[in-house]
Symmetry: C2
Subunit: 412 residues, 2 copies
């Protein structure tokens, strides 16, 4: 292997306007990727006030993993795991291999440290974001009872949900986002290997075709119902919104300062049923038009919905009382908002030939109450006929770190 | 929706050197995608001497579907289905919606023709490739007994395989490849809807991070064992190789002229076991070095392997007798070669936390014997300890068509 390189050429154009994004100019020869790859992507800094992957412009692909600590793991194991994960994540996000030895540098007589499938791939804006589930703080486990944020408790149950254990919960989570799925998969795979004996994968989720943006300058992608998703989001260039709705201030637990709560919901979408609904009805269910994403009260995509507008055709409110957008809107939820950062998923077909597909909903909130309130309000949502929540998890996402620090070191 | 546009700007750079690729300059207003998308990708022509998606430079993502005709479907149904699929595929590959009415143009009182999730996305080099399975030609089904290519029979069974019905077989297949997974998923989903009442999905496969290239100018990607995959392929710029190894001449069945056979194998890779193998052993199993992909007999990636070179360290042939590359190489298989065009897949984890992941192996061959011979020779492959074939299918891929013709019309 010869020295790798990382071009600045196309980096800025690809990253766009959203979020704090930097570019590294090269890296140590021992850690270099092989040299026949087209330079095409840039690096999102791992260190900073907040973890990356929250306000970072939404990458094309997600690989998400929930972990449980093994039954024999100790407090020391947890501490060392977080330290090891931190080191590895800092390297991986720069497009390096997981250790200096990497995939081929450790000599012939041992299994390589790095599994190698990302050799030759650019960093692809990889971000790695860590979170801690409520079970990690349980009594008699790691002595973390006093470090649990008061609000970090299991979510209450909601109308219509059909949760499955195999898609729910977890002591720890890692969200890996990148513009190449192989880069995200490689990151989780190598972090799982590092965890061996200390933590093991509980469930994972692959997602693509993100369903939100973190800025209006990225065009709004569509979910699998064909609607623009992410129009009314908390955007990453609005520091005051972020302070109000996303970042925890650490007044409860200092280690959570600059962090957030992450709510993950695996939502199956009944695609075939939806596809038989007439356009008018689809739009009434969502509360926006399908082509442009404008609210049914009029205007264009980013016009604020006006819930008082009456439609003579609909013989009632233009944005129906049971529409998703009305029920989810801040004005119906004591002002509550959230930063949505979800991904579509497609996982083949069931025995009836129907798509196993849906939305892996991810929201970052300053308080889980923001999600709970909106999700309760959605009990009346006419969308419920076409979706089913089948997985659920909540994690406290610690703040960002400086080089040399470990993620979550404030726990100990 | 306003008129769409399709930029020529970056098209040539993105498509690269492989295969016959053109660019369209725009399309009818009624069929236009909405106008806030960044133009970023070009169109691969659907019409031509061969179907696209075979020698086309390998796109980043695959969505593959196998279909069965419904139990009540008639010969007329099959014929009309192929005609409808052809029309839709010609539109979809150009970045249009599935009909002129599309996702929003059919008025409020009916379900939209197009499911809409690709609105605003560029064509992303979408190719749609059709194939016919052996069961389609069975007696007492569609009167196609005499149209069956002699070689289109179920594959024999092979050592070590553990095939599952739910990943195998099918009357028809559609391979959709694109640089955005949502575009490939959208294509298959809308083609499945068109099939309603005539054919239904049997199984599907999502793949990413392709494991081959069709030209040496694309850098060779890696499979999930971390090795370069696709180094020694039949390349699309070598017409004489293609004529010898890929394109059927139609001497058996005229409708197959310019077509090929497609062998699909879903191969589970035992990732965790592999990851514990030392580097030397991994390289001995493959027969190439991991970093550069060079044969163990020496040289660089594209150096021809020399099976006579002896290694004193290995106390035997430098490329071991039971290595994958030796056993798969043409010199060990009566010269036989194939055009490999596979994709990696990752489908979460099993109950033990192990990755469900592997290679969706796709090969285009002039005769299935090319695959059968090599696969038999691989019975001695030391790779078999780390892989398991769990799905299998074979299809005859008809030749390409001109505008106005229907795929497979030569069957009737
Ligand atoms: C498969 C399930 C879901 C689908 C298909 C869906 C779809 C949509 C669509 C199309 C919009 C309008 C465009 C936009 O502003 O993004 C929207 C808005 C929104 N959704 Fe959902 N959504 C789903 C689940 C959820 C869940 C579980 C929550 C939270 C509990 C949620 C919260 C919101 C919020 C807060 C908005 C913005 C409302 C506004 O301020 O106007 N959605 N959703
Ligand atoms: C998960 C299963 C497999 C893995 C991991 C794998 C991996 C590899 C690798 C790393 C190479 C060397 C680089 C290259 O030339 O592409 C290779 C070559 C090759 N493989 Fe496989 N392969 C698998 C299955 C198969 C199967 C099922 C076949 C066909 C029956 C096949 C046929 C070939 C051929 C023909 C070559 C080129 C050999 C040469 O001409 O040097 N492989 N494979």
């Amino acid at each position: 292997m010869t020295g790798g390189r990382l071009s600045r050429r196309s980096a800025l154009g690809l990253i766009g306007a959203a979020g704090a994004v930097g570019v590294t100019g090269g890296f140590a020869a021992g850690a270099a990727r092989d040299d026949d790859a087209e330079p095409q992507e840039s690096v999102v800094p791992f260190h900073g006030k907040h973890q990356s992957g929250i306000t970072t412009r939404v990458q094309q692909h997600l690989y998400f993993a929930s972990f449980d600590m093994t039954s024999t793991a100790t407090r020391e194991d947890l501490k060392s795991l977080l330290a090891d994960w931190t080191d590895a994540a800092a390297r991986l996000t720069q497009g390096r291999e997981v250790t200096t030895e990497g995939a081929t540098g450790g000599g012939p007589y041992k299994p390589p440290d790095d599994t190698g499938e990302a050799l030759g791939l650019e960093p692809n804006a990889l971000t790695i974001t860590f979170g801690f589930g409520p079970t990690l703080f349980a009594a008699d486990r790691f002595g973390l009872e006093k470090k649990r944020p008061k609000e970090l408790v299991e979510l209450p149950s909601f109308a219509f949900e059909l949760l499955e254990d195999r898609f729910s919960g977890g002591d720890l989570c890692i969200q890996a986002c990148a513009d190449d799925p192989q880069v995200a998969v490689h990151a989780i795979r190598n972090l799982s290997r590092i965890a061996f004996g200390r933590a093991q994968v509980r469930w994972t989720q692959l997602g693509y075709g993100r369903t939100s943006t973190t800025s209006k300058s990225q065009s709004t992608p569509r979910n699998l119902f064909g609607f623009k998703d992410g129009t009314a989001n908390v955007f990453s260039n609005d520091d005051s919104d972020l302070a109000t709705w996303v970042w925890a201030d650490g007044s409860d637990q200092p280690w959570l300062a600059g962090g957030s709560f992450l709510v993950a919901r695996k939502i199956q979408m009944l695609i075939e049923s939806w596809d038989r609904v007439r356009l008018e009805e689809q739009e009434a269910i969502v509360g926006r038009d399908k082509g442009r994403g404008a609210p049914l009260s009029g205007g264009s995509e980013f016009t604020e919905p006006d819930f008082d507008v009456v439609s003579t055709a609909a013989r009632g409110p233009a944005i129906p009382m049971d529409s998703h957008v009305r029920l989810a809107h801040p004005t119906q939820n004591g002002g509550a908002r959230m930063l949505r950062r979800g991904y579509n998923y497609v996982e083949g077909n069931n025995d009836l030939g129907q798509l196993n597909a849906g939305l892996f909903f991810l929201a970052f909130v300053r308080s889980p109450e923001q999600f709970v309130g909106v999700q309760r309000s959605l009990a009346k949502d006419s969308l419920n006929e076409y979706i089913r929540h089948i997985g659920s998890a909540i994690f406290a996402v610690p703040g960002g770190i400086r080089a040399g620090e470990s993620i979550g070191s404030g726990l100990f």
